[in-house]
Amino acid sequence: MARVLVNVPKTAKKGDVIDIKILISHPMESGQRRGDDGRVIPRKIINNFVCMLNGNEVLTLDLFPAIAANPFFAFSAVAEESGTLSMTWVDDDGTVQTQLADITVT
C-alpha cells in the first residue's frame, strides 16, 4: 500500500469552491531508464486516477511517464452535496488503491 496524504475540507458551504489535494508516494518509473546491470527498468507508473463523489465523477486523469515520483494532484470543485469522496488510482501492475474522505456540505 502506497503512503498517501489527502487534504479535503471536512465541511463546506453549498456553492463554495473547495480545494482537494492528494499526494501519493509512488516511484513513477518511466520505463526509459537503465539499471546498474544495463537492463531497462520496466515502466511502473500510476496510469489512471479518478475522483468520485457519491458515485458521480468529479475528475479523471490519464497519466503518462513524464510525471515525477510521488505525484501531487491539486484541483478544485464546487461543493454541491455532502458525501464521501473516493479517489481511486490504477498502477501499471494492475494494483488499484482507493482513498476515501468525507465532506459535509451545509
Binding site: R3, V4, L5, N7, K21, L23, S25, P27, A68, A69, N70, F72, A74
Partner: protein, 249 residues
C-alpha cells in the same frame, strides 16, 4: 565609480555570508511554497510513516517509542540540539545514531539499515516536532575537540578537484557555479526531500554527493570523521529555524 560600488556590494555579500542563511531562501518560490504546505510537501509521506513507527511495538521487547517517550510532542526541541555530544561515548552522535542506539539497546530490535525509509521516517517525524525552533547545538566543554575536528575537515582541501567545503560554502556562498547558486550549505532541514533525489534523504547522502562531486572518497556511513563534520555543520547553523522536512531542488 560603478566598479567601486560593485566591489562594495561584493564585500557586503561576503560579510552577509558570515551570518547563517537558510537554503530555503535560495530555493525558488514554487519550491518554498511546496515546503510551506504540509499537504504538498512530499517529506510528510515519511513523517506520516514515522508517526506509525513511533507507536509500533518492537519485537522482542514489546516497547514502542511511545511506551517511554509518550506523546511525540515530548520530542520538541530535541532535533534542534543534534548532533549532540555523548559524554559516555566521548563523541557526538547524530539524531539517527541516537534513535538507532535507543532502538537496539532499549527496544532490543534489529538495527535499521542506514538510510532506510524506516530510519529516515522516524528521524523526520522526531525532527518535525522541533520545526521553527532555532538550531542550538552545544559545542562547548568536552565537545570542543570534536567540533574543532569537524571544522578542520570543513576547511581541508579534498579530492582530485582539491576543494574544501569552506572555499565555496563560506567564501563564495551567494555567488554562482555555472547556473547554480552556491548555498551556505546549512543543514537545518534534514532529513529533507530533494527533487533531484525524488526522495527524502539524510545529511550523509548530501555530504556523500558533495564529496563525490569534488572527486574525493566519501566517508563511510557513521564514521567518526563524518559525525564530527555533521556536528560542526550543525553548530554553524545555530540560530536558524529547524525546517525538517525541508524541500530543496
Amino acid at each position: 565609480m560603478i566598479r567601486t560600488a560593485l566591489a562594495l556590494l561584493l564585500l557586503a555579500g561576503g560579510a552577509a555570508a558570515a551570518s547563517p542563511h537558510s537554503g530555503y531562501w535560495d530555493a525558488s518560490k514554487p519550491i518554498r511554497a511546496m515546503q510551506d504546505d504540509d499537504a504538498a510537501n512530499p517529506g510528510f509521506l515519511w513523517v506520516q510513516q514515522g508517526e506509525t513507527i513511533w507507536q509500533d511495538a518492537q519485537v522482542p521487547s514489546g516497547q514502542s517509542c511511545r511506551s517511554c517517550h509518550g506523546d511525540a510532542a515530548s520530542m520538541r526541541g530535541v532535533s534542534a540540539r543534534y548532533p549532540a555530544f555523548d559524554a559516555k561515548l566521548g563523541r557526538p552522535l547524530t539524531l539517527e545514531q541516537r534513535i538507532e542506539q535507543c532502538r537496539t539497546e532499549r527496544q532490543r530490535a534489529l538495527a535499521s539499515a542506514p538510510e532506510s525509509d524506516e530510519l529516515l521516517a522516524i528521524t523526520a517525524f522526531v525532527g518535525t516536532q522541533s520545526r521553527g525552533l532555532p538550531v542550538a547545538v552545544d559545542t562547548g566543554g568536552p565537545a570542543a575537540s570534536s567540533a574543532a575536528h569537524g571544522q578542520a575537515l570543513f576547511t581541508t582541501r579534498m579530492g582530485q578537484l582539491n576543494l574544501s567545503c569552506a572555499e565555496c560554502h563560506d567564501g563564495l556562498a551567494g555567488q554562482h557555479l555555472a547556473g547554480a547558486l552556491i548555498p551556505q550549505g546549512q543543514p537545518n532541514g534534514y532529513p529533507l526531500y530533494r527533487l533531484e533525489w525524488q526522495s527524502l534523504g539524510s545529511l550523509y547522502r548530501r555530504l556523500r554527493n558533495c564529496l563525490t562531486g569534488v572527486r574525493a572518497e566519501p566517508f563511510p556511513p557513521n564514521s567518526p570523521d563524518l559525525v564530527d563534520l555533521e556536528f560542526y555543520l550543525a553548530s554553524r547553523a545555530n540560530g536558524l529555524p529547524v525546517e525538517t522536512p525541508a524541500v530543496r531542488p
